[in-house]
């Protein structure tokens, strides 16, 4: 049955494709090439190329700086543009296949408005919607907590993306949960993207080249998560000369070194960062304070080797760790390690191939040193991943992408190992193993000058594999059967078809309509009913009890540019339907729990909203304004009598304003303001006494609101005098300028001074916080 269905769908797909590819007798030629930065030799991602002949046609470079485009013979003007670089205009005569590599010169002075004759309106033409690209220069200038530049904090200023909490690098996209975001660092999934429990992200922006977020209209090459894809690419390393740059901040310092291994052929980049917050502890005379540890560090490294014009190898890795220790009683460490090996190969000037071998591991360790109760816990999730992607330029109106993705997951939920003299028993919770096999094909089709369509299909299959004991549970959580499966034996499999389509219709030079529909499935589920994310949150796979989560999203948008594309405006409406969402019963203990699936509840979700985005793209003053009006709800059989209730990520209004102003030669001033409705939470609706303790009574779930959140931040950067050998700059920042006491949490308790009363206590994490960082580069 299933196979039949797949066959039918594939048949429709093939027919559609064959019809859409109009076979012309006329011979076409291919123009291909690599676009790089003229100073560092870094490949540039997403550079826009326009071929103006009888008509205007266009493409952009892929994640490896490569482009390929099929053109009919003739004379064209090629215009190449990329933010932060001088545009290139070139006359080309297409009478044979052309290889054209281009070097783009960075604009030192970003603000100088070079309004060129060509249009900068890719945002209108491109069928992709729900995408946000964050410019690294914006990340550099947006004020952040403690002066630590942060990709994840910056993307939270984009409409539709909301922080999971104060100072938290976790985020919710269009009503999805935090685990429904696929976070990729050089294609490797990062399972826990935060340091110090969320105050910092694991992404050291020194090492980052490009950041794209897909909130909707997910291209078919991405899968495995319901709500978003955050695709982060690391710097390749300078191919021309050795450079070093770094910064010394209040709580952390960074250093990056890069340079050629062999000129123009091969380069490397190493970037590291460490915090020293705990250094202050040493000043304490008290040994119970002095002996605490608290720090994180991370290391990014990458090397590439361009074998010839057809083959390039990339090797990249990330390693980061947090360590927390409490005075010889308690130790806690967690971190990610990823490694990616990639091979770019050009089969022909029309067929580009990328093969990636990827490793990703997240683990945490807990150690308790209290004699009788001493123990150790080790837990990890590890992925081995082989990916093959092809890009084929068929003719000047079709660009195909297809490929496969094989992932082998191993989850080690945690083993409790007793210490010497300990009364704790060895408890081993079985590992879980599973494979995901996905294949995709998509076509970017320029139907005519006005209409662009990207349509595709992704198939995703998941297999849960032995060895282990697998139990089934009834609705109240009792075991109904347990069977043992041998190593590698299939326990349960799921198959999902995920159609993806998005289209852009250009109304005129300055405006377009877009629409998209996508389906996504997810087979890894994060168990967390807590109000904040924690390094100990547990991942489980789809199983005989847990079915894959599904999401269908429809979005429509209107895009318009003003004033010679200086202003960009967009509005998108979305509706997202979520199936098989997971919660758990109250009182569930996730720690080393062999039967965690017994306590799970399954339900549906829906999220809808409208987003507005206005951006000033060039000029002395630039920045953006984003506003979202939205609603997110969940429905479970066992919760609220099957009525819809607000999800914890529901926030009615969400506003962010970012302004960056270049004041003179050396000063850059920037400011952000955020305002959002407080999260939906459950507060007590009454209380009662139970054995001399006050217990609170809760009525409807999430029917209360945290206080509204708002905050104004400011930062100023002073660049050193130009022309010096060592280029240095100072960054000054003020977080929460007007010292707003935003609630991180509100707790309810008996008044410590008068036990006959109860009180609500608001915890504020950050008042006004100044910061200063010194950055250098030579």
């Amino acid at each position: 049955m299933l196979m039949l269905r797949i066959k039918n769908i594939l048949r429709v797909f093939i027919i559609l494709m064959v019809f859409s590819i109009n076979v012309k007798a006329q011979e076409n030629f291919t123009i291909t090439g690599l676009i790089t930065d003229s100073l560092s030799g870094e490949t540039l991602i997403g550079v826009s190329l326009k071929f103006t002949g009888k008509t205007q046609l266009g493409t952009s470079t892929n994640a490896y700086g490569f482009y390929s485009y099929k053109l009919s013979p003739g004379e064209y003007t090629l215009s190449v543009s990329y933010i932060g670089y001088r545009s290139v205009n070139k006359k080309i005569n297409v009478d044979k296949d052309i290889r054209l590599d281009l070097k783009m010169i960075p604009d030192n002075v970003l603000d100088e408005i070079i309004i060129s004759s060509e249009k900068r309106n890719d945002n209108l033409i491109n069928a992709q919607m729900g995408i946000a690209k964050v410019n690294l220069s914006e990340i550099k200038n947006v004020p952040v907590l403690f002066g630590e530049r942060d990709i994840l904090k910056t993307i939270q200023l984009i409409p539709g993306i909301k922080p999971a909490g104060e100072g938290n690098s976790g985020f919710y996209v269009r009503g999805g949960a935090a685990d429904q975001n696929l976070i990729l660092l050089d294609e490797a999934p990062v399972y826990n993207a935060s340091h110090l429990l969320g105050f910092f992200s694991t992404f050291n922006s020194d090492a980052i080249k490009d950041v794209s977020v897909y909130k909707g209209g997910m291209p078919a090459q991405y899968g495995g998560r319901l709500s978003s894809v955050l695709d982060i690419r690391m710097n390749d390393g300078n191919k021309k000369e050795y450079t070093a740059e770094g910064g010394i901040g209040l709580i952390s310092s960074r250093l990056k070194v890069e340079g050629p291994l062999s000129k123009d052929k091969s380069s490397f980049m190493i970037s590291g960062r460490r915090t020293y917050a705990d250094a202050f502890l040493a000043f304490s005379g008290d040994s119970s304070i002095k002996n605490n540890t608290l720090y994180f560090y991370d290391l990014n490294a990458k090397a590439n080797y361009q074998i010839d014009s057809k083959n390039t190898l990339y090797m990249s890795g990330y390693f980061g760790r947090d360590e927390l220790g409490l005075n010889e009683t308690f130790g806690f460490g967690w971190g990610n390690a990823t490694a990616t090996l990639r091979w770019n190969h050009l089969f022909s000037n029309r067929l580009f191939s990328n093969t990636s071998l990827i490793y990703s591991n997240y683990d945490y360790k807990i150690e308790n040193f209290l004699e009788e109760n001493s123990f150790k816990v080790n837990s990890s999730i590890r992925d081995l991943n082989l990916k093959q992607d092809f890009q084929l330029s068929l003719n000047n109106s079709h660009n195909l992408r297809f490929g496969t993705d094989l992932i082998y997951h191993r989850i080690r939920p945690g083993e409790v190992q007793p210490g010497e003299k300990s009364s704790v028993n060895l408890i081993a919770v079985e590992d879980r193993k599973g494979s995901e096999i996905a294949a995709y094909i998509s076509d970017e089709w320029e139907v005519n000058e006005k209409l662009n369509i990207v349509y595709g299909l992704r198939t995703s299959s998941f297999m849960l594999l032995g060895p282990g004991n697998f139990s089934s549970f009834d609705r109240s959580g009792n075991i109904t059967a347990t069977s043992f499966y041998q190593d590698g034996k299939l326990v349960k499999s799921y198959f999902n078809l995920e159609p993806r389509i998005s289209a852009a219709y250009q109304l005129n030079e300055e405006a377009s309509f877009k629409g998209s529909y996508t389906r996504n499935s997810q087979n890894l589920h994060l168990m967390s009913n807590s109000t904040a994310s924690s390094p100990t949150d547990l991942y489980i796979m789809s199983s005989n009890n847990v079915k894959p989560e599904l999401a269908d999203q429809i979005s429509l948008g209107y895009f318009r540019n003003f004033n010679d594309d200086k202003f960009e405006f967009s509005t998108e409406v979305y509706y997202k339907k979520l199936q098989r969402q997971i919660e758990y019963r109250s009182g569930t203990d996730l720690r080393a729990n062999t039967n965690v699936e017994a306590d799970l509840l399954y339900g549906d979700g829906r999220a809808y909203g409208i987003e507005f985005f206005l951006k000033k793209r060039f000029g002395k003053l630039n920045g953006w304004l984003g506003y979202t009006l939205s609603r997110t709800e969940r429905k479970f059989d066992e919760i609220e009598n099957e009525n819809w209730f607000l999800a914890k990520q529901d926030r009615t209004h969400d506003l962010s304003v970012v302004g960056i102003y270049k004041a003179g030669e050396r000063w850059t001033l920037s400011s952000t303001f955020v305002y959002n409705t407080g999260n939906a939470v459950t507060f007590p609706a009454g209380k009662y006494q139970l054995n001399n303790n006050t217990v609170f009574y809760y009525s409807k779930r999430n029917s209360d609101r945290m206080p509204n959140y708002h905050r104004l931040d400011f930062s100023a950067t002073l660049e050193g005098k130009p022309g010096r050998k060592v280029n240095s700059s100072w960054s000054f920042g003020i977080y929460n300028l007007y010292n707003r006491k935003n609630a991180f949490s509100i707790d309810f308790r008996d008044d410590p001074d008068d036990a006959s009363k109860t009180q609500a206590v608001r915890t504020t994490l950050f008042g006004i916080i100044p910061s200063v960082t010194w950055n250098f580069k030579f």
Binding site: L326, R591, Y688
Partner: protein, 278 residues
């Protein structure tokens, strides 16, 4: 730093990782700007709900069932007793023992002893509705000894009572401790043997009070063995407070009463020890 210490008491729970206290600690370290403040909140006032807190022990005593109604959050903490309910304990043999109301909402049985291993039923008829719950009295486990342990967290050194006992092997056991210091209740916590089944176990009794224990204090520790549902009920209450890990989205703990009313019926065994701290 007192606040940190207060928050950190939970660290010591067996595997608990107190999320919020770590956050507080970090924030505090980084800039010492975090703060706690009592605020006014206009909370919803749900109509009163019935709460039943009943128990039967293995001691020859009057078993007490307390029936009350919830009160608004901003009202003074009082036991809002419910008068005129019909309360009976049903023994495993099917005999029904009725309880008499001795004051508003407090119902008392005649003196008798519950038997470990037996399942007891509580039936309450209040405001025209019938509420029933049952609980199985576990076998008793007695403390072997009690010692005191000194622990330091962030400049505060405190002593905590530590109860030693032998956990019966291959049976799921749950324990509850009620600590009274100078007749004032300071702790009510539950443990289970999931991590130390069959071993010589020591449970650390972590107490809430801001005051440290000092010589001359009279401590009374009551050790109970409780059934699984009762454990889960108290565990859920602790979880909402942020014990045993990050605070969870609050919800009413799952009661063992039919009709989804609030409260718990607990058939338990108890033994208690009184010590004067030297």
């Amino acid at each position: 730093m007192g606040g940190f210490y207060f928050k950190f008491k939970r660290e010591m729970r067996k595997i608990g990782v107190e999320h919020k206290s770590i956050l507080m600690l970090l924030a505090g370290f980084l800039m010492l700007t975090s703060c706690e403040e009592v605020i006014d909140l206009d909370l919803q006032k749900a109509g009163p709900r019935i709460v039943i807190d009943g128990s039967i022990s293995n001691q020859n005593e009057n078993h007490v069932v307390r029936i009350s109604k919830t009160i608004p959050f901003d009202a003074p903490n009082t036991f809002n007793g419910l008068k005129g309910a019909k309360v009976s304990l049903i023994t495993p043999g099917g005999t029904s023992v009725s309880l008499s109301e001795i004051s508003d909402g407090i119902y008392r049985s005649p003196q008798f002893r519950g038997t470990p291993g037996m399942t007891y039923k509580l039936e309450v008829i209040a405001e025209g509705r019938v509420y029933t719950a049952s609980s199985t009295m576990p076998y008793p486990v007695l403390p072997d000894s009690i010692s005191f342990k000194k622990l330091s967290f962030f400049g505060n050194t405190r002593i905590y009572p530590n109860v030693y006992y032998k956990d019966p092997a291959k049976v799921q056991n749950q324990y509850r401790y009620i600590l009274k210091v100078n007749d004032k209740q300071q702790a009510d916590i539950v443990f289970e043997d999931r991590f130390n089944d069959g071993n010589n176990v020591s449970d650390l009794i972590i107490y809430d009070s801001e005051d440290d224990l000092k010589p001359g204090d009279v401590l009374n520790i009551e050790m109970q063995t409780i059934d699984r549902n009762v454990f889960k009920y108290y565990y859920a209450i602790g979880q909402i407070k942020g014990e045993n890990g990050p605070p969870v989205a609050p919800a009413n703990p799952e009661s063992n009463f039919s009709n989804g009313t609030l409260g718990i019926f607990n058939a338990f065994t108890k033994s208690s020890v009184t010590i004067t701290l030297k």
